[in-house]
Symmetry: C2
């Protein structure tokens, strides 16, 4: 079932997104064309306080042309370990330091055309962050009861893939 | 919190992926650079038979360099309604015709850089397809008990974002 790459042309190398056009040999010997985004990968964090509230962040998303509620998340810096990135992003986006981070697996966001893999974490033992928040990120955060976050998915108030997956995986993992 | 587009440059127009480089004005007056993939959107289908087995498909994904288990899915053709696309894709990928399709909301796969929105559906009243399967798609399908699909997520055997979100949303909707 595998495809063999026979030609790869780099189209664009951006800050986050690197686009290649790839020709592959299919298992039946035919050739096919693929467009491939190389992405450094990312993390997303389900942060729970002691009352089982979960932290949500909202920000304007140009690609959706709307403000969206999501779990805190961010792109891996070059060479950065996912755990370190999760610790950094939760501080930058929500102003919270995670005393404990547990791996929750991960997901490919769109394996048809991007290499992006998101590492999911559950963060607990939250305390106030020692990092300054990024002044060029316009992010609001709030805490909602975990059950309310699941209701937000049901109502269509959370429509971000990693957030839906991360919240439901947490619900199952912790029996919430 | 909104960003205003002040310049947009089209970088590449491919078969599925259209890449633009966009300069925006942030709420604080500063400028920022965004890379944006325009994508036509897609559908994904949680198909359930009368014994509450769910249909999974496996295929090689170049972006992940591995064979992955996913729910059936596919990209919208120009002007195609999501419901029509779901009916077509379930036939092409799994050889099954859905007698009934119920909307299950949807999700943005990666709102930081792609416009792709996936419309989710629950398909029931399955019968054998009248469409031929695509000979250049190398896809295997199987049916597993719904609870086993949730276990596959837990074990990391399903690591595709839309599949994780679609299966959990279905579990909650139907009380499975």
């Amino acid at each position: 079932m595998r495809e063999i790459v026979i030609h790869r042309e780099e189209i664009y190398s951006g800050r986050i997104v690197h686009l290649s056009a790839v020709d592959v040999r299919l298992p039946n010997g035919k050739e096919a064309h693929r467009e491939l985004i190389q992405h450094p990968g990312a993390v997303a964090i389900v942060a729970l306080d002691e009352e089982q509230n979960v932290v949500l962040v909202s920000q304007y998303r140009l690609a959706a042309d709307r403000i969206m509620w999501e779990i805190p998340a961010g792109t891996l810096n070059p060479g950065e370990a996912p755990l370190v990135c999760a610790e950094r992003e939760l501080q930058e986006e929500a102003g919270l330091f995670p005393g404990k981070l547990d791996a929750l697996g991960g997901l490919y966001v769109a394996p048809g055309y991007t290499t992006e893999f998101i590492h999911l974490f559950i963060a607990t033992e939250l305390s106030e962050s020692r990092l300054e928040m990024d002044e060029d990120e316009f992010i609001e955060s709030k805490r909602v009861p975990f059950a309310e976050a699941l209701d937000m998915i049901e109502r269509g108030d959370i429509i971000d893939g990693k957030s839906i997956a991360g919240l439901f995986k947490t619900a199952r993992r912790l029996g919430l």
